[in-house]
């Protein structure tokens, strides 16, 4: 253990390792390197052994395996994490800004009497301290925050770092909690999964939006193909729903749903204010419209002034080729 180590709490969702863990490891490596410290990855689960190969970028992989960590309840997780962090005394504990993270990070920080920073987009070592770039106020403001106390608990926003690839020492240790993990007043009962066939567009990472420029219902099929290739779903602007091309559950906009996916691909959508309202918070917006003055281009990051119907088949092909 060393005061220069950085500890990452792996994000495990229903016994599967989430990708964001690798983003956290990348963040951790940047900070640990500066002080000559190590990257420790803490895995809290029923059995973390299957995750080990994916966690190669860490120097130490600490597995705390316990049946109480199989599903989710705050107390056993916080207690297990606290024990390890208190023993290791790293300079920073990186937690993902996820459902578990939003419990774990503050509760852990409270137990440790440690500073907590949320909304972190980047972390850098600054002498013995840390400098963190934070996004807040709905993404409208950034703050540069100095953290002097150690350990510090930092909640890292998904998408802030590229997944770590370079291998670390990857030494595996398995630990038993010193005393039985407390069950606590909040107990897990069951998982409730969404009904098969329902598409909740607000939960999608990728949305392919169709507007009037798709021209007719038959062309929605092409958009579906693209959505599938990208692991997402098709949504629609109001005119497309009014035309009956897609059900109202797929409508984005003022009289539909508000979405914030990682990718919003707008095909033949003009970008009327009522539509923009429902999607302009999306992380990456790519718009295709034959009208160069379409307001969607003011909201989009990338645009192309071509016919969506002509572009679609080419795009399905290009995406397939890139995926390899």
């Amino acid at each position: 253990m060393s005061a220069h180590d950085v500890l990452v709490v792996a994000e495990v969702q229903r016994q599967a390792l989430a990708d964001i863990t690798l983003e956290l490891l990348a963040a951790a490596r940047g900070v640990a390197e500066a002080g000559g410290g190590q990257v420790i990855c803490l895995v809290l689960s029923a059995d973390g052994t299957p995750f080990v190969p994916a966690l190669a970028p860490a120097d130490r992989i600490v597995l705390v395996n316990d049946p109480q960590l199989a599903d989710y309840a705050p107390d056993p997780f916080v207690a297990a994490a606290f024990e390890v962090v208190a023993a290791e005394q790293p300079r920073a504990v990186l937690v993902a800004g996820t459902s578990v993270g939003w419990d774990l990070a503050p509760l852990l920080a409270s137990r440790l009497q440690a500073p907590l920073v949320t909304g972190c987009k980047s972390v850098t070592a600054d002498g013995p301290g840390l400098v963190v770039d934070v996004s807040f106020c709905g993404g409208k403001m950034m703050a540069e925050v100095a953290v002097g106390q150690s350990p510090a608990v930092l909640m890292i926003m998904p998408g802030s770092y590229r997944a770590a690839t370079a291998a670390g020492a990857a030494r595996v240790e398995t630990r038993e909690p010193a005393s039985p993990l407390p069950a606590g007043a909040v107990r897990f009962r069951e998982w409730v999964l969404p009904e098969a066939g329902d598409v909740d567009i607000t939960q999608q990472d990728v949305l392919v939006a169709v507007g009037r420029g798709i021209q007719q219902k038959d062309n929605v099929e092409l958009a579906e193909q693209l959505a599938q290739a990208l692991g997402g779903a098709v949504c629609a602007s109001r005119p497309a729903v009014d035309q009956g091309w897609l059900p109202a559950t797929r409508q984005v906009g003022k009289s539909g749903m508000t979405v914030r996916p990682k990718l919003y691909l707008a095909l033949g959508v003009s970008g009327a204010p009522e539509h923009l309202e429902g999607m302009d918070g999306s992380e990456l917006i790519i718009a295709v419209n034959t009208d160069p003055k379409a307001p969607i281009f003011d909201a989009a990051h990338y645009g192309a002034e071509v016919d969506a119907l002509d572009l679609l088949p080419a795009l399905v092909e290009a995406v397939g080729a890139k995926k390899g």
Partner: protein, 404 residues
């Protein structure tokens, strides 16, 4: 199955009728003229006739809970044709909607959001009040912000929410500023302090919100000196003309078409070029059917050389509403979900059937509604939608193109 009036129902109906200016709804003879005339009557669970019947029978709860309570678009056709002159659109509907919300029933979601926006920001679009004058950026005529520098003016122009904030409307707003200036009218606006006149809120049934806005507007207008208010919005005109006086707030107010129609000779002398267009005019519901004002807009259009005016089959008091009034701008999804349709989709086809290449309008909602409808109907290459102001400005060479 006969419906038996109850004492409580009759009393309630009497009470509800007090908010309107016409005959009490108790005078209803169940002729069904309203239901048959209503453009959405076939889709309503309770068209006006049945609203009255069921309320009288003591079934108010059913009425208040019904989604059809939120399907009226404020077109005044029922009120206009009612043989007993019952004030349905402005009286019974808002009173029932108010009751419904008081009883805890939730209005359609989009409408709720509009109420919140009006309450918080004084405009229906949920935009910052500080941006209310952004439409005037780079304008080539001076804009007097009376909230910052008060002077007596001929015209206090209440710009309105859509004309201030909605991008498509800006061309009209700016052209109007230029036309007034060219006419030598001294005018000013209330800038960031301007709030909605509250017309639609009242019709949605948000009586409390309307009162709040009337109070705020009284303070604002009371601090100013002007010969007349002018508005581009027929709904605002109606509210200021017919409802503000009930709160002791009386102001001379004109819709822009009437204002200009009093200055035809001056305008005629300012026209410098023709506008070659076959134009059909859509009578808006508030200034048209409700107030019986059909000639001024046509007189303005006929002033423009090159304009050939044709009438739709349904015109004057028989015009078909665009569907945007009475909250309709925010009720399309609700209406469609309950078996109705967007009236603007129907109306644009009526416009195209005349062979016109231009549909002329004089209400801020109609621009976006009809342009949208033209796209959906595939008519956007065939029929252009333009406000009368835009056509006039073009013939006076005061359109956007003439900005240096």
């Amino acid at each position: 199955m006969s419906v038996v009036p109850t004492d409580a129902g009759v009393e309630l109906l009497e009470q509800l009728g007090k908010t309107g200016s016409g005959t009490s709804p108790l005078g209803c003879m169940q002729c069904g003229m309203c239901a048959a005339s209503c453009p959405l009557g076939a889709a309503m669970e309770f068209p006006p006739r049945k609203l009255i019947l069921q309320t009288m029978a003591g079934n108010l709860d059913k009425v208040l809970a019904s989604p059809s309570l939120w399907m009226c678009v404020g077109c005044y056709t029922c009120s206009h044709r009612c043989p007993r002159d019952i004030e349905l659109t402005d009286g019974l509907w808002p009173a029932l909607r108010d009751r419904s919300m008081q009883a805890g029933f939730q209005p359609p979601g989009e409408l709720q959001e509009t109420f919140q926006n009006l309450f918080k920001y004084g405009n229906t679009l949920g935009k910052s009040p500080r941006q209310r004058l952004d439409w005037a950026k780079g304008l080539d005529v001076p804009v007097l912000d009376l909230s910052k520098e008060s002077r007596p003016v001929d015209v206090l122009w209440l710009v309105g929410c859509y004309p201030s904030y909605y991008p498509r409307n800006h061309a009209v707003t700016r052209a109007w500023a230029r036309i007034m200036t060219r006419l030598g009218v001294s005018w000013g606006v209330l800038g960031a302090k301007e709030k909605s006149a509250g017309e639609c809120e009242r019709m949605f049934g948000e009586e409390g919100l309307f009162e709040t806005l009337v109070e705020e507007n009284r303070k604002l207008l009371g601090a100013q000196q002007f010969e007349t208010l002018v508005t581009l919005d027929p709904h605002a005109y109606r509210a200021l003309h017919a409802y503000y006086p009930r709160f002791g707030a009386w102001y001379p107010v004109q819709h822009y078409t009437t204002f200009l129609a009093e200055r035809l000779d001056a305008l005629r002398g300012m026209i410098v070029k023709p506008v070659e267009a076959t134009v059909t005019y859509h009578d808006n519901c508030c200034v048209g059917r409700r107030c019986g004002c059909y000639d001024p807009p046509r007189a303005l259009l006929q002033l423009i050389p090159g304009v050939k005016l044709v009438e739709m089959d349904r015109h004057h008091d028989n015009a078909l509403c665009c569907g945007g009034g009475g909250g309709g701008m925010w009720l399309d999804a609700h209406i469609v979900a309950h078996g109705g349709h967007r009236l603007s989709d129907e109306r644009i086809r009526q416009a195209a059937a005349t062979g016109a290449d231009t549909l002329a309008v004089s209400c801020p909602y109609e621009l976006s509604r009809f342009e949208d409808a033209a796209k959906v109907a595939g008519l956007d290459g065939q029929v252009k939608v333009r406000d009368i102001i835009e056509l006039l400005a073009e013939s006076m060479d005061l359109g956007e193109r003439s900005v240096a």
